[in-house]
Symmetry: D2
């Protein structure tokens, strides 16, 4: 069953209230979801920072992983798949208080493999923060 | 100033007690550090899991980022640099209770760029969990 | 000196007539170039194939490398930089006779690092063949 | 049927005499092959160079693709699979006349996915030239 905005909002509500790692997405708001795409946004807060006081590369990679998975869940059977490979390029730092928009899209959802792409940019001005590619295996 | 085991232990103690994202490393034990390498280990716990009940790909990517940075800090000036690119391949799932060993090494620490590599494997049996490459810019 | 279409056409003419590796681009036509972007196209021919009779992943990676470099040369000083990292995802096979469009764009051209992105798709129907990310160091 | 040194030598002889893209490997010598590994070496020649007169990143990526595929062919059924993702980091330049050793190994050959790794280094002194990760889908 493919899923739309209401369903993805429920997924995010569920995982952020679980004991699992996706708790770290608790201040992320789902803006839109459907047709293989998902957009979320969040304000950079203390819990997202590295030692230099900017958005942590591990949190960015986690967003690339998760938001692209939500995008994939709006296609076909709604299955999340398992990660095969993630690649992230870090273009610009982001600071506390800035709002980041995360746009994920499904480039291909095949029978066995899905290819997903993610872009993080600043809501104010649109400057790119990171770009990611995520490949998943569909079981 | 390059750093050894005692210094890296202090770094990890500091970041896991901060309000930043590296809090998520709080059950990670530094086993060794020096000469451009760093080894840590941790038991897979609830806080590391994805919705399927196995080690979350975002936490794995965070380890690739952080542990390789600690490895880099044992070289040259001890500067952590900023991430340019991270690539992670996911080979096998890991389950709660399994102990994971993370081995990071510095392949090259140049004047401007550092190339780092990370391997996650199961302490019991050595099965590979993930492999990562991390490129950093030294300012 | 940043460069436009005429200049990039000359670069491609020069390298395909050299004794270097970019000879392999000899049937590539530059369609447009400027403002940090470059588009080329080519028909898949025998010299581009793998043992399975489809577009070779090494040739695809070479296109990701080269066409994004041409895109970068249309910005700033026109300097090509040196490669730091290339990542390529392979979405669909391409067969002899199909025409492939390669679209490269500069996501960021900083003082020291440039972040480039490339998409290969089929001219007939637009199906994606591959997507790539290329990071370069500007000396 | 898994393959050993003699079989991989025949594969390389065949592809370098074909009309396909792997012709570009014609001066590559297979040193060893078996147990999921393959080692080749070659002298850097004019046909491998970029415009700056050093080893071309596209040729390096082609080696990552091909030599890891030969490594995979020494396992299990000997099937080469199809590429899903390639990631290459470029550590140091290589110049004409230098001999490069390419070491590929199979990190995991599963039923559906294979994870391969490649290292290019200088025969004289061992300096790293590039490191790559290659993921293949087994059909």
């Amino acid at each position: 069953m493919s899923r739309g905005l209401a369903a993805i909002k429920k997924v995010v509500e569920y995982v952020t209230n679980s004991k699992g790692f996706e708790q770290c997405l608790k201040n992320v708001t789902v803006v839109s979801a459907g047709d293989g795409k998902c957009r979320v946004e969040f304000p950079v807060e203390d819990g997202h920072l590295n030692g230099g006081g900017t958005l942590h590369g591990g949190f960015t990679a986690t967003l690339v992983d998760c938001i692209s998975t939500y995008a994939l869940m709006t296609t076909g059977t709604g299955a999340p798949g398992v990660s095969v490979n993630i690649n992230v390029s870090y273009l610009n730092a982001a600071s506390p208080g800035e709002v980041i928009v995360v746009d994920a899209k499904t480039c291909k959802a095949g029978k066995r493999l899905a290819f997903l792409e993610v872009e993080l940019s600043k809501k104010d001005g649109g400057r790119l923060v990171a770009r990611g590619q995520h490949t998943k295996f569909i079981m």
